[in-house]
């Protein structure tokens, strides 16, 4: 149990997916201009990462590994993710129109979010068992949501700050991300 708590903490802050592993930078910079959209994107990502990691883990261990075709991993995983995102979209539209309205526009963007495929592959590479996989993918995606929300709050304030012309937009966002990364790097000393 304590091992799982350690893994959860590591996934949440120490090995934060955006700031130390550089996965999911595109939505991190692209959809973080407003707090509400950052929250929507973050929640959609948590949902999809946990679901897709579970399915790809099961597929890898019970089908690909058994048939000894593990080299098909990349193709199978990306197709599963693309199909899954589509299905989640259809499902949400039917079952919960309110939730669909909130998350709908972010869902198609998630297919090409490298965090989703990245987490699925990391789970396999690190040899996580089922419980570890579940904890890791939950907390790493919550880490994404957390950092994304903080970043969106900073960027809302940034709009009113006198930023040099050349730094407007992406450059200043990257510098802010660098400062955030500096803070998160310090968490490494805790465990």
């Amino acid at each position: 149990m304590s091992e799982l708590i350690g893994l959860a903490f590591a996934a949440f802050v120490v090995e934060n997916i955006v700031l130390t592993q550089f996965l999911g930078i595109c939505p991190f910079l692209g959809v973080s201009k407003k707090r509400s959209s950052a929250l929507g994107m973050g929640i959609a990502v948590v949902f999809v990462i946990v679901l897709s990691s579970t399915i790809t883990w099961l597929l890898y261990h019970f089908i690909l590994d058994v048939l000894a075709i593990t080299y098909m991993r990349t193709i199978v995983f990306i197709l599963v993710i693309a199909a899954l995102v589509q299905m989640v979209e259809i499902f949400l539209k039917k079952v919960s129109p309110a939730l669909y309205k909130a998350l709908g526009i972010y869902l198609p963007l998630i297919t090409t979010n490298c965090a989703v495929l990245g987490v699925a592959i990391i789970n396999i590479n690190e040899g996580h068992d089922f419980a570890q996989m579940l904890v890791y993918s939950t907390f790493i995606s919550l880490g994404f949501l957390f950092v994304m929300y903080i970043f969106a709050m900073i960027r809302e304030k940034l709009d009113f700050s006198p930023v040099p012309k050349a730094f407007k937009g992406t450059p200043i966002a990257l510098i802010v991300a660098a400062i955030l990364a500096m803070i998160f790097a310090r968490f490494g000393g805790i465990i």
Binding site: L23, G24, Y71, T74, G118, K165, A166, P171, L174, A177
Partner: protein, 221 residues
Amino acid sequence: MNKLDNFLKGFLKENPLFVSVLGMCPSLAITTSLENALGMGAAVFFVLTLSNFIISLIMSNKKLAELVKPVRIPVYIVVIASLVTIVEMVMHAFLINLYESLGVFIPLIVVNCIILGRAEAFASENKPLDSVLDGMGMALGYTGALVIISLVREILGQGSITIWGNLAIDLGFAFDFLKIQPLDMFTKPVGAFMSFGFILATIFAISNHKANKKAKEVKGQ
């Protein structure tokens, strides 16, 4: 648009990394040494050139194009993922060191926005030869951008340039001469975000300056 333009536009005018700001994740993660940047560039070159070629072959056949159109994104993804799998297997077999240092970012070439972006924006509407030239130009432009970032990070962070394997230039003497030391920070994530931010700002400043100059000239006339 002529063939040379198709090839050259990826270098500066439509550079995928510095102008369109696509494919950020690997550009931040693997630019810790020149060797990694070159390896990543080579992988992207292979995948992008061939995927552009195959996709434009599919789409320039009228019958096939009609068939594929409604499901074109999954088709593109399958083509790209197959090519990436080839790269992954070749690297694993022959370049094990590079394979290990690039790690998860080799399979992640599949979701690199540049490749799918070029497939959708260029290869699906142009002839195979043009698409190949476009893919090569874009991939070389991307590699060039990776090389610039990795040079900044490796020189400032480690005081050396690793060209390939053991072939490296040690810049320790320059640091001794200036009585400074390489800053470890630049090999860490902080340095990645920081150097990319400053490089991008420099490029924006240059293009702003050029745009201003042009505007003035137009006014003057």
